[in-house]
């Protein structure tokens, strides 16, 4: 197994409901993995388990050989895992620039951003990469939904992660905005960052990933290349429906 991210027999129950059940998978450094499945399959719960927002009832998550179980979310960010949220969670009353300055103030990044001017320059650089460089003075509450998605991405990149978890990054975006964000994710993965993406917009997601894990009722029902997943009987039955291969198109 990979020593980058290992998920072993991971389970969590809410009362009588097993939201994630005996989940096993591993992710190699530099991989781009998609997670799909119907609503309620346990995808976001999995992200919450990986990032410390939930504590598993059984199983283990190891990142670079060390267990993340019972670690607080900020400690997991320290270890090198950052995330975005399904529903965007900007710091509404802070400016776009300040939103991205906050992760620079975590213990891991604080030393090199001790002076506000240095922090601002680093944040501006990231905002330039996501295309928000001309909106740094605006309050986050004044941004469009598409810009908020990019801001969320910028904030997670500011945490300087080795593994980035994107929870439905295309949700609520128009086609043009999806294209822009897709380009951004591509740029990030081209730089070697490991990314796991949860997404329902399959056509767009399949262009980004090399491997897809499918969940249903908290159980892994398939794990393979986009082509294998599109033709997998169990996935077709649980999620894709007939003609699943239409989602798999080459980016080029």
């Amino acid at each position: 197994m990979s020593d980058f991210l290992e998920v072993e027999s991971l389970s969590i129950s809410f009362g009588g409901l097993r939201a994630v059940s005996d989940l096993d998978f591993a992710v190699e450094r530099g991989e781009v993995v998609g997670i799909i499945g119907p609503n309620g399959a346990g995808k976001t719960t999995l992200f919450n388990l990986l990032t410390g927002f939930l504590v598993p009832t059984a199983g283990d998550v190891r990142f670079k050989g060390k267990s993340l179980v019972r670690k607080k979310p900020h400690q997991i960010v320290e270890r090198g895992i950052a995330r975005t949220f399904q529903l965007v969670r900007p710091f509404q009353q802070l400016t776009v620039l300040e939103n991205v300055m906050v992760p620079h103030l975590s213990p891991k990044n604080r030393r090199k951003n001790k002076h506000r001017a240095e922090n601002q320059k680093r944040a501006l650089n990231i905002l330039g990469q996501v295309g928000l460089g001309d909106k740094i003075h605006l309050l986050a509450s004044d941004l469009s939904h598409g810009d908020l998605r990019r801001l969320e991405m910028a904030r997670s990149l500011a945490a300087d992660p080795e593994l980035l978890l994107l929870d439905e990054p295309f949700s609520g975006l128009a086609a043009k905005e999806i294209e822009t964000l897709s380009d951004l994710i591509h740029a990030v993965t081209d730089r070697g960052l490991t990314v796991i993406i949860i997404e329902h917009k399959l056509r767009e997601m399949m262009k980004l990933v090399k491997r897809v894990i499918t969940l249903d009722f908290g159980i892994k029902i398939a794990d393979g290349t986009p082509e294998e997943i599109a033709n997998n009987e169990a996935v077709i039955k649980a999620y894709l429906g007939k003609g699943g291969e239409k989602f798999v198109t080459s980016r080029d």
């Binding site: 979310p73 949220f85 900007p90 009353q93 975590s106 506000r116 330039g128 990469q129 904030r155």
Partner: protein, 331 residues
């Protein structure tokens, strides 16, 4: 991917919130307050201004906890009162000098901040407000249990005064207010303040940004308690008396009310509102019959028409005015 790379030269980065030019209005206000005793000889008015200075410390320390960090607290009277009683008891029974009783008052209040902060870490919104609301009653309970030392309901009379000279007393209160409020202004405008604001805006997003939310919340509870305790201790020396009636839930509610009227999360807003509302309340004493009615009605009107508070509304009005003045010149 088309990456747009900006540099600080191409985009004007916002100036530091700690740039001295931003504090010119504050400096003018301090200068005016320093000159007050030269023009006003009435001990009554000077006493009122001493009270305003003390309230400025109460309110700004509360604003750090609630306005900046988003921890809704109705328990500030516990911090103020514990500081006041510590100073009162030390001065009354042991004749400890003021320079020691005041910081010790802050330390005891900081311990109460820690005691209140730990259980409150898991609470949010109305639940947190209710828990701190209950904390307001703790002091009365403690003074009742230890009535032999606290003086019970009557409290303690005969605590050492800051000074027999009211002008000296005024300058002491002003100095302490400048130090505490100046420190708070520095803190909230530093990058530390940015962290506190991120916690106020969204605790989960702050955690996901690598911020140890628990630690910062606890530090803020302790710091807010410490500063309020110092102010409370000083208050007991200016009044030469401590009693539970001074530090009841009513005080906590006044702190919340005045801060909201002034503008949450500004530090200056609550200070301005403290001065305005205390002076308004006193001026209305000439029409005692309708004083409470007019006072309450004024507060309701302010909350209704300028819900952001006096200071943010005035600042945004001035900024709009300046922009309007500039725009015809451009066209």
């Amino acid at each position: 991917m088309k990456q747009i790379s900006y540099t600080a030269d191409q985009i004007s980065l916002p100036p530091s919130p700690l740039h001295w030019k931003r504090f010119r209005p504050h400096m003018v206000a301090v200068c005016l307050l320093l000159l007050v005793p030269l023009f006003i000889k009435s001990t009554y008015v000077i006493d009122l201004l001493i009270l305003c200075n003390i309230y400025a410390m109460f309110l700004s320390s509360w604003d750090l906890l609630t306005g900046y960090t988003g921890q809704i607290s109705f328990g500030h009277s516990l911090f103020i009162g514990s500081g006041a009683y510590t100073a009162g008891i030390l001065s009354f029974y042991f004749q400890v000098p003021i320079l020691i009783t005041v910081p010790l008052g802050g330390v005891v209040a900081a311990l109460f901040g820690l005691l209140l902060g730990i259980p409150c870490l898991r609470l949010k919104g109305p639940y947190l407000a209710l828990a701190t609301f209950a904390a307001s009653g703790v002091l009365a309970a403690l003074t009742a249990v230890f009535w032999e030392y606290s003086g019970g309901e009557d409290g303690l009379y005969g605590i050492a005064s800051v000074s027999a000279n009211y002008v000296v007393k005024y300058y002491w209160s002003l100095s302490l207010m400048i130090v505490i409020c100046g420190f708070l202004l520095f803190l909230v405008n530093s990058q530390y303040g940015l962290i506190l604001q991120s916690i106020r805006e969204d605790e989960s997003a702050a955690e996901a940004s690598g911020i140890n939310v628990t630690r910062y919340k606890l530090i803020t509870f302790v710091l807010s308690g410490f500063l309020a305790g110092i102010a409370g201790a000083f208050y007991s020396h200016t009044q030469m008396h401590v009693g539970t009636d001074q530090f009841s839930l009513h005080l906590s509610i006044m702190v919340v009310l005045m801060s909201v009227v002034g503008g949450l999360g500004t530090i200056v807003g609550p200070i301005v509102a403290g001065f305005l509302l205390i002076l308004l309340n006193e001026w209305l004493r000439v029409i005692e019959v309708v004083r409470v009615l007019i006072y309450s009605f004024s507060v309701v009107l302010i909350l209704l028409f300028i819900p952001k508070g006096i200071v943010p509304t005035v600042i945004s009005g001035i900024q709009k005015g300046i922009e309007k003045m500039k725009s015809p010149a451009r066209s």
